[in-house]
C-alpha cells in the first residue's frame, strides 16, 4: 500500500510533466499525435491522483496507523464517515484532494464532448497541467501523504472534534471544488489570449466555469457558516478569520467578473479588466492557500506551521507574472474597445459601480487580513484585526452594494432618461421610504437596520417589477396563464432570472445578518436544578444535569424545558462533549429555530452540587440567512442548468489550428 500510494504520486508527477511537454511540443510542431498523447496523459494523471486518493482513503478507513497521516488525524473508534473525512483534515491529505479535483477538471475539459475539435483544448490542458505538476511536486517532496513510521502506534491521535460534524464533511470539499474551479476560467482566459481569440466563445465558456466555481465557493462558505453556528457555540457564523477572508475575497472578485463580463458581451468593452479579474481571482485562491499553510497569520483554521506557504507564494508569483506577460503581449488585441457609454445613468454605469464596490470590499478584506503583517513590518507591533474592524468597514460598502443591486434591474441599457427613472423608481422609492418610516414607528431605531431594511425593500420591489413586467409583456403576445408565462420567461432566459434569484437570496441573507447582528439578546446565568431564567419571551427551566458515554467520549448534558409566552416549546439537551483522545471539550448547542428567531442554548460550566451555567441567546432572523443561502444556490444552479430549450455551449468560431 505504501508503495502503491507513493508510486501513484510519483507516476502522476512524471505523467503530468510528460503530458505537458507532449502537448506543448505538439502545439509547437503542429503534430496531432503528440497532442493526443498528452491528452491521453491527462487521463493517466487523473487515474494516478485517483489511485493515491483511494489508497489514502483505504488506509484511513482501516486505521493503518503505520502511516503518519493516519496516526495524526484518526483513531480506531472514529465513525467511518469521519475517518474518511480526515482526508482533508491535514496538509498532505487536503492537497491530495486538491490535486484530485484539479486533475478531474482537466480531464473533464480535455475530453469534453462539447469542446471536441476545439483548438483551445491543448492550451487549456497545458495550463492546467502546470498546476497539476506543482501539486504533484508538493505531494512528492514537501507534504507527503504516505510517510511510514518507524514504530506502529497502538492508537491514533484522533480527529479534531470540531471537524466531527456533517457540515465539516461537506464544507472543505465544496470550498476546494470552488478554489480549484477558479483555475479553469484562468486557463480558458489564458488560452484565449494565447490564441488571440477574444470572441464570444471564451466569454461564455469562462463565465460558465466561473459560475460553477462561484457556486462551490458560495456553498463552501455557507456550509462553513452553518458549521460555525451549530458547532462552535459562540452564536456567530462568520468571524472574519484570515482563512474565511481568503475564501471571501475570490468570491467577491468572481462576483464582480460575472457582472462586468456582461458589459464585454454587450458592448465589447472592459476586456483587460475582465481578464484581470480572472487572474486576480485565481491568484487569490493561491494567496488563501499561502495564508493557511504558512502560519504567517494566526487563524483557527490554519494547518500546522510549515514551509508549504512559501511554495504557494512562489507559484502564485510565477502564475501572476506569466499571466501578466501573456496579457501584455496581447494588449494591442484586447485594448481595442469598440464601445462607448451613452449616459452616466445606465445599466452599464451601475455595473461599473458594482465592480468598484465589490473590488473595494475585496480590497478592504485583503487590507484587514494583511494589516497585522504590515503593522509588524512598519512599527514592530503585530496588531489584531478582528470582527469589529471588518464589520465596521464592510457594512457601508456592502450596503451600498445592496443599493446598486436594488436599482440596477430597473435601469435601462444605454441611457436612463429622467422620465424612465421617474416611471421606474417613484413607486419603489415611496414604498421603501414608507417601510422605513413604519420601522421607526414600530420601534426599530438603529440606523443601520432601518437603512439596510429600507434598501432591501427597494430591492424586493424592483425585482418583483422585473418579473411582473416580463410576465406582462409575454402574456400580451402569448396569452398564457401567468404561472406558465413566468415559467417560460424564466427558462428562456435562465441567466438573467437565475441572477435575480441570487439577488433575492442575497437580500434574504442581508436581512438575516442585519437582524442577528443588531437585535440579538444574550444572557449568562448560573442556575440550580428547578430554577429558571428569562430571556425575551422565553423562559428556560433547568431540570437536571447528567452524564452518558458514547464510545470513548463522555457527554455531560443538561435537561432544560423551554416555554415561550407561557406555552411549552419542548425539552432540550445542551451538551458538553469530552473526547477520549482530545484535550479540549466542545459544546453541542441546543437550538430552537423559528422563522422569526433562534433560541440558542449553550451549557457553559457546572459545579459538583449540580448548579450549571448557561449561555442563552436569541438570534433574530437566522432562518432568513439560511433560506437566502438556499436561494443563492438555487439561482446559480438555475442559471447554469443546460435546459432543453437552449444550448448554452456556444459554437466556437475563433481561429482554427492544426492541432486540437
Amino acid at each position: 500500500m505504501y508503495l502503491l500510494g507513493n508510486a501513484a504520486i510519483y507516476i502522476g508527477l512524471t505523467l503530468a510533466v510528460y503530458s505537458f511537454i507532449s502537448i506543448v511540443a505538439g502545439i509547437l510542431t503542429k503534430k496531432q499525435t503528440l497532442v493526443d498523447s498528452g491528452k491521453g496523459g491527462v487521463i493517466a494523471v487523473f487515474l494516478s491522483a485517483s489511485v493515491a486518493v483511494a489508497v489514502l482513503l483505504y488506509a484511513l478507513a482501516t486505521s493503518q496507523f503505520q502511516f503518519e497521516y493516519v496516526k495524526d488525524y484518526t483513531s480506531s473508534e472514529l465513525p467511518i464517515l469521519y475517518k474518511l473525512s480526515a482526508l482533508w483534515a491535514g496538509n498532505a491529505g487536503s492537497l491530495l484532494l486538491w490535486t484530485f479535483f484539479l486533475t478531474m477538471y482537466t480531464a473533464m475539459i480535455a475530453f469534453s464532448r462539447k469542446m471536441r475539435g476545439n483548438p483551445m483544448i491543448p492550451y487549456i490542458s497545458a495550463i492546467l497541467l502546470v498546476n497539476s505538476i506543482f501539486f504533484f511536486f508538493i505531494l512528492g517532496f514537501v507534504a507527503k501523504p504516505f510517510i511510514l513510521l518507524n514504530e506502529i502506534p497502538m492508537e491514533g491521535r484522533g480527529l479534531n472534534p470540531m471537524l466531527q460534524n456533517p457540515g465539516m464533511v461537506i464544507h472543505p470539499v465544496t470550498l476546494y471544488l470552488g478554489y480549484v474551479g477558479l483555475a479553469v476560467p484562468f486557463a480558458f482566459a489564458m488560452a484565449a489570449l494565447i490564441l488571440k481569440n477574444m470572441d464570444d466563445y471564451w466569454i461564455k465558456m469562462t463565465r460558465r466555469w466561473t459560475i460553477i466555481a462561484w457556486l462551490f465557493l458560495s456553498l463552501g462558505n455557507i456550509f462553513g457558516g452553518q458549521w460555525a453556528y451549530v458547532e462552535l457555540g459562540w452564536g456567530g457564523y462568520w468571524a472574519w478569520d484570515p482563512v474565511e477572508n481568503a475564501s471571501f475575497m475570490p468570491w467577491l472578485t468572481t462576483t464582480a467578473f460575472l457582472h462586468s463580463v456582461m458589459i464585454q458581451e454587450r458592448k465589447n468593452m472592459l476586456k483587460v479588466w475582465n481578464i484581470s479579474l480572472i487572474v486576480i481571482s485565481y491568484a487569490l485562491t493561491l494567496f488563501g492557500t499561502f495564508l493557511v499553510r504558512s502560519g504567517v497569520l494566526t487563524s483557527v483554521h490554519a494547518f500546522a506551521d510549515s514551509n508549504l506557504g512559501m511554495y504557494f507564494l512562489i507559484f502564485m508569483g510565477v502564475a501572476v507574472i506569466g499571466a501578466l506577460y501573456i496579457v501584455m503581449s496581447r494588449y494591442s488585441l484586447i485594448k481595442r474597445s469598440a464601445g462607448e457609454f451613452q449616459s452616466f445613468v445606465s445599466k452599464e454605469s451601475s455595473f461599473l459601480i458594482n465592480n468598484l464596490l465589490l473590488l473595494g470590499a475585496a480590497f478592504a478584506v485583503f487590507w484587514g487580513t494583511i494589516f497585522p503583517l504590515v503593522s509588524e513590518a512598519v512599527r514592530g507591533t503585530k496588531v489584531t484585526v478582528g470582527i469589529p474592524f471588518f464589520n465596521k468597514v464592510q457594512a457601508p460598502i456592502l450596503l451600498s452594494m445592496m443599493f446598486i443591486m436594488a436599482v440596477c434591474p430597473l435601469l435601462a441599457w444605454q441611457r436612463s432618461t429622467v422620465k424612465n427613472l421617474k416611471k421606474n423608481f417613484i413607486i419603489p422609492a415611496i414604498l421603501s421610504l414608507a417601510g422605513m418610516i413604519l420601522m421607526v414607528l414600530l420601534g426599530i431605531q438603529k440606523a443601520w437596520a432601518v437603512i439596510g431594511y429600507g434598501v432591501i425593500i427597494l430591492l424586493f420591489i424592483t425585482h418583483y417589477l422585473e418579473f411582473y413586467r416580463g410576465v406582462k409583456a409575454r402574456r400580451k403576445m402569448t396569452k398564457e396563464m401567468p404561472i406558465v408565462a413566468l415559467y417560460r420567461l424564466m427558462i428562456k432566459n435562465r441567466r438573467r432570472y437565475g441572477g435575480y434569484i441570487v439577488h433575492i437570496g442575497i437580500a434574504f441573507i442581508a436581512m438575516g445578518i442585519i437582524g442577528s447582528q443588531n437585535y440579538d439578546v444574550e444572557t449568562m446565568k448560573t442556575l440550580k436544578a428547578g430554577e429558571s431564567l428569562d430571556i425575551k419571551d422565553y423562559r428556560m427551566t433547568y431540570e437536571k444535569l447528567d452524564q452518558r458515554s458514547e464510545g470513548v467520549n463522555d457527554i455531560v448534558y443538561a435537561d432544560v424545558t423551554v416555554f415561550k409566552d407561557g406555552k411549552l416549546l419542548g425539552k432540550y439537551e445542551p451538551e458538553k462533549v469530552f473526547y477520549g483522545n482530545w484535550e479540549e471539550p466542545s459544546s453541542e448547542v441546543a437550538l430552537h429555530s423559528s422563522i422569526a428567531e433562534d433560541l440558542y442554548i449553550v451549557l457553559s460550566t457546572w459545579e459538583e452540587d449540580g448548579t450549571a451555567t448557561f449561555i442563552v441567546k436569541v438570534n433574530p432572523m437566522m432562518s432568513w440567512l439560511w433560506m437566502g443561502s438556499g436561494l443563492v444556490v438555487i439561482g446559480a444552479l438555475f442559471a447554469i442548468w443546460n435546459g432543453k430549450h437552449k444550448h448554452i455551449t456556444p459554437k466556437y468560431t475563433g481561429a482554427m489550428k492544426e492541432v486540437v
Binding site: G233, W234, G236, A239, D241, T298, S299, V300, G339, E340, F341, Q342, S343, F344, S349, L352, I353, L356, L357, L359, G360, F363, A364, W367, G368, F371, V374, S375, V378, R379, T381, V383, T384, V385, G386, I387, P388, F389, K392, V393, I397, R474, M477, T478, K492, N493, E522, T523, M524, K525, T526, K576, E584, P585, S587, V602, S604, T605, I615, K617
Partner: protein
C-alpha cells in the same frame, strides 16, 4: 419656571440612569451577567489570548483561566466607575495595542481604517473619469452624425427588426 422645570427633568433623568445602570450591573442574587449589553460594550474590545481568536466577551472556552480573570478585572473596573474608553486606555497602556480586537484609530493603525475608503474614493474617481470620457466620446460621435444628417429612419428600421428578432428568440 421653565428653567426650574428643565433642571428637574435633567435631575430625574440622572436618577433614572443611575437606577438603570445599577439594575443592569448586578442581578438580585449578586451574580453578574457576563453577557449583558454593558459588559459586551467593554469586553468585546479585547482579544482573548487563549488561542480561541475571540474577544473576552465571546470566549467561553472551558478552563480558560485567562478569560475568567480578565472578566473579573473588567468588572472590578466597571464597578469603580471606569467607562469603556478608560478601561480600553488602561489595557492598551499596560498590555499594548495587541490586546485590542481592532486596530486603534490613531497613529499608524489609523491607516487600517482609512486605507479601504481612500482606495475606494480613488478608484471611484477613476471610474467617474472613465465613464465621463466614454460618454464624451459618444457625444462627439453623435455630433458628427448629426452633422452628416444621416436619416434616422433607417436606423429605426434596423432597430425594430433587431427587437423583433430578439422577441422571437426569447419567446
Amino acid at each position: 419656571m421653565r428653567k426650574l422645570l428643565s433642571i428637574c427633568f435633567i435631575a430625574i433623568l440622572f436618577v433614572l440612569q443611575a437606577f438603570l445602570l445599577n439594575t443592569h450591573a448586578t442581578s438580585p442574587d449578586g451574580e453578574y451577567d457576563y453577557k449583558s449589553a454593558e459588559f459586551k460594550a467593554v469586553a468585546a474590545q479585547f482579544l482573548c489570548t487563549c488561542g480561541c481568536g475571540q474577544s473576552h466577551y465571546d470566549c467561553d472556552m472551558a478552563g480558560c483561566n485567562n478569560t475568567d480573570a480578565f472578566k473579573k478585572d473588567i468588572l472590578t473596573m466597571m464597578k469603580k466607575g471606569m467607562d469603556k474608553d478608560e478601561i480600553r486606555h488602561y489595557y492598551v497602556k499596560t498590555l499594548g495595542e495587541e490586546i485590542l480586537m481592532a486596530p486603534d484609530s490613531k497613529g499608524f493603525s489609523l491607516a487600517a481604517w482609512v486605507m479601504p475608503f481612500a482606495a475606494l474614493g480613488g478608484a471611484g474617481t477613476g471610474v467617474f473619469v472613465v465613464i465621463r470620457r466614454w460618454v464624451k466620446r459618444r457625444d462627439d460621435t453623435k455630433t458628427l452624425e448629426e452633422d452628416l444628417k444621416e436619416a434616422d429612419e433607417v436606423e429605426g428600421e434596423i432597430m425594430s427588426s433587431m427587437i423583433e428578432k430578439e422577441r422571437k428568440k426569447y419567446l
